[in-house]
Amino acid sequence: MNHVSNSRRLFLLINYTLLTIVALLCFLPIVHILAVSLSSKGAATAGLVKLWPVDFTWSSYEYVLNKPQFLISMWVTVQRVILGTGISMLLTLLVAYPLSKEPHQMKFRTAYAWIFVFTTLFSGGLIPWYMTVRDTGLIDTLWALVIPGALPVFNVILLLNFFRGLPKEVEESCFMDGGGYWTSLWRIYAPLSLPAMATVTLFTIVGHWNSWFDGLILMNSPEKYPLSSYLQTVIVQENLSNMTADQAAAMADVSNRTFKAAQIFIGSLPILLVYPFLQRYFVKGIVLGSVKG
């Protein structure tokens, strides 16, 4: 066991090196954005900033933190993520569990499954969807960002596949003890598939965090935009043709790269911390370990 062969050592060396390079490649753009956000405007627009700040300054962070809209939007996003992930996870569990049963255990199971899968392929387009959200009275409320997309079908499929991988015996013993489907779902399936649940939760959180289009379309005033919708309005360049000198001067202000970089950076900071937190649920062998115990 203690003996590690040379070829194994070589493999590990290559493996570590490659993964480190890959990780760095993924990390550098964020470092670049951070560096730009801490540089002076002149250095940033002249393209002098690579991975280290030039003419170090906090001014862009002062600007952002003094901007009420940024903080308001951050709060909207936090609310949205908490409410949305809670509802989504509940619905996902409730749909994935029955669908993980065999057709003889649940009538119409395959039909149900196709009904859900079908929605990922076909859509009526933006306008009818908007009208539906409007007619169900959700426009301009937090619910509009939460309810219409409350069932991410991809996550359902992922989770039902994990459920299916769990040994049947465990559930049967639960039934023997007089438990029903509900007990089995809460007491057996949910706790036994923690890594899968963590994955799906992460996807749901990230989905809510990143989606910006619904916020712009369904909210009636900028104070209700989630952060990503707000960032979209900051980052996307307005048409620069036909401006007056005053507008141009004002645009010069808002098109400041360092301000944008600072907002992008603070805007992604909270979500970057979510994954490391969820990682502790990715423990190998948790499933059978607990079954055996």
């Binding site: 409007r134 379309i217 009636n220 007056t244």
Partner: protein
């Protein structure tokens, strides 16, 4: 077994579908019934700025630019302009507000498609046509006639195409938002004066001279850093649609993307004229000689600005406001940098005619059924009255100056109508005022403020006045445009209004082809003769019918 289940699924699907069909059918009946146009009853004398008694409530939507700021205690729903509207009995009620024009356009499209319109809204030409065709708009003919102030009527008639572009079957269906497009878009040649001086170059008098300056800037290390890192002439990826290339092409008498009168009253498409071939050949030559950034094809305007501010480019064509951005960013940091503008020279020498877009790019409309269409006219009256008339209160409604900064509060007005020649008039008045050292001849408060800034700039106490002075000073870019305009050398698109039918179907494809062919010619991937093939294809793929439609449109006017 499985096929049975699939059949079941499709059955469920079908049932759902029929359910939906019947339900939606019912829901849409209401859309067909048309409300009757309320009669225009005018009681007593009409006051353009009179208050509504009793007050009316107006549903509206709007966008706020990301750059718009507010003084302490004001926001977009409560500010000097909304107060003014309230005083006059107009209570604005915003159904929604969005940040940014682009987002606004897509939200309006959704509002139109889902039949969710407020009483008053701003639309673009395509949206206007669509609403007009659907009969959703209130007729503003009588309201404009009766309520528009003399000032407003005058402004509306400066561009003879403005009102006609909003008139359908003899009815005025929208208030055009006229804008000062000469100052906003018409191209000039901008050159780094410090570089010219350093390399002992003369101002250009022909477009050939421009190329010579470009050559000198590219090869003779004008920034003196000992590295061959400068380019001669700026270009971005939007060949033929952005000012960088338009100005240069105008120098050759080529007018990309607009319809020009060939002299016999017939409109032809500028991008397919032989002059364009010459211009492209010249750009190809410049690219080959490394006068143009080899990466121009992927760079947008902002990226090109960055190349400029990092001292890599000192020659470009662009609008009069470039001193405000991006040039001021450089001059502020290093006062040895100086920019100077020239009118675009032509091939034979003398000034070339330059192009600008139509002065109206958006409109204000009132939806059918709203009882007071004159409200929109009154708002337009107010805008002009409070900002540009003899009774203007510019310090209150135009620009508010606090100790921290100055804030353009005029942006809060729902309606914006500007004299298309505003920039020209302003420059003329400023020039006279500087000569006579008195602001007596200045007609607007806005210009008076600017005059004071100029005076302080000239005595050295206001270095930030540089950009304004470069544009509107006695030798500024606006002066050059004013001369050009007086000579009739600023031409506008001969076709204005919503896209014609074939344009709607084909323009995107034709534009794609145009940009692709032009870019490939410039980078030398295609020979200049590819232009002839492009012209042929353009005509065949819908261009001929578009030309016909455009000329029919012209006849019908």
């Amino acid at each position: 077994m499985r096929s049975k289940k699939m059949a079941y699924v499709s059955l469920v699907g079908c049932m759902l579908f029929t359910m939906l069909l019947s339900a939606c059918g019912g829901g849409n009946e209401g859309a067909e019934t048309k409300s009757e146009e309320p009669e225009q009853i005018i009681e007593g004398p009409v006051e353009p700025m009179g208050a509504f008694e009793p007050a009316i409530s107006i549903d509206a939507i709007r966008y706020v630019g990301e750059e718009v700021k507010f003084p302490e205690g004001q926001d977009i729903k409560n500010n000097v302009w909304t107060d003014l509207y309230t005083e006059l009995g107009m209570n604005l009620n915003y159904k929604w507000i969005v940040t940014g024009k682009e987002q606004y356009d897509s939200k309006v499209n959704i509002a139109i498609a889902s039949n969710d319109l407020p009483d008053i809204l701003e639309v673009n030409a395509t949206q206007l046509r669509q609403l007009a065709d659907a009969g959703q708009l209130a007729d503003l003919t009588a309201a404009f006639e009766n309520y528009a102030s003399d000032d407003l009527k005058k402004v509306m008639n400066i561009d003879p195409n403005a009102l006609p572009s909003a008139t359908f079957d003899g009815k005025l269906l929208a208030m055009p938002s006229t804008q000062p497009v000469i100052g906003g878009s018409a191209p000039l040649l901008w050159v780094r004066a410090d570089w010219m001086e350093k390399l002992n170059l003369d101002p250009p008098s022909t477009i050939e001279d421009v190329i010579k300056i470009a050559e000198a800037f590219a090869t003779q290390d004008p920034d003196g850093n000992g590295v061959d890192d400068t380019y001669g002439f700026a270009l971005n990826k939007d060949v033929g649609t952005s000012g960088f290339s338009i100005g240069f092409m105008n120098g050759y008498g080529a007018y990309p993307q607009i319809w020009v009168d060939k002299g016999d009253g017939e409109l032809v498409y500028g991008s397919i004229q032989p002059e364009m071939k010459t211009a492209l050949a010249s750009l190809q030559e410049m690219y080959k000689n490394k006068l143009i950034d080899p990466e121009f094809g992927v760079k947008d305007t902002i990226k090109v600005f960055e190349t400029i501010t990092s001292n890599k480019i000192g020659l470009l064509s662009g609008p009069s406001w470039y001193p405000a951005w991006p040039f001021w960013d450089m001059v502020k940091e290093d006062s040895s940098i100086d920019w100077v503008s020239y009118p675009i020279p032509s091939q034979e020498g003398g000034n070339a005619s330059v192009q600008m877009p139509f002065s109206v790019s958006h409109y204000y409309v009132v939806t059918k059924g709203f009882e007071h269409p004159e409200a929109i006219i009154k708002m337009a009256n107010l805008y002009y009255e409070k900002l540009y008339s003899d009774n203007a209160e510019f310090e209150k409604y135009g620009t508010v100056t606090t100790d921290k900064d100055s804030i353009g509060v005029n942006k809060y007005s729902l309606v914006e109508v500007v004299n298309p020649n505003k920039d020209l008039i302003r420059q003329e008045e400023l020039e006279t005022a500087l000569e006579t050292k008195s602001d007596e001849g200045i007609s607007s408060a806005e210009t008076k403020i600017m005059y004071e800034e100029f005076v302080r700039y000239l005595d050295g106490s206001n270095p930030a006045g540089w950009s304004g002075y470069k544009a509107s000073g006695p030798d500024g870019s606006m002066k050059q445009l004013r001369i050009l305009n007086d000579e009739g050398k600023v031409i506008s698109n001969g076709f204005v209004g919503a896209p014609t039918e074939t344009m709607g179907q084909r323009k995107a494809t034709l534009d794609t082809m145009e940009q692709e062919v032009f870019t490939k010619i410039i980078i030398g991937e295609s020979s200049v003769d590819a232009f002839d093939k492009f012209v042929e294809d353009w005509k065949k793929l819908g261009g001929d019918s578009i030309t016909q439609e455009v000329n029919e449109w012209k006849q019908s006017k």
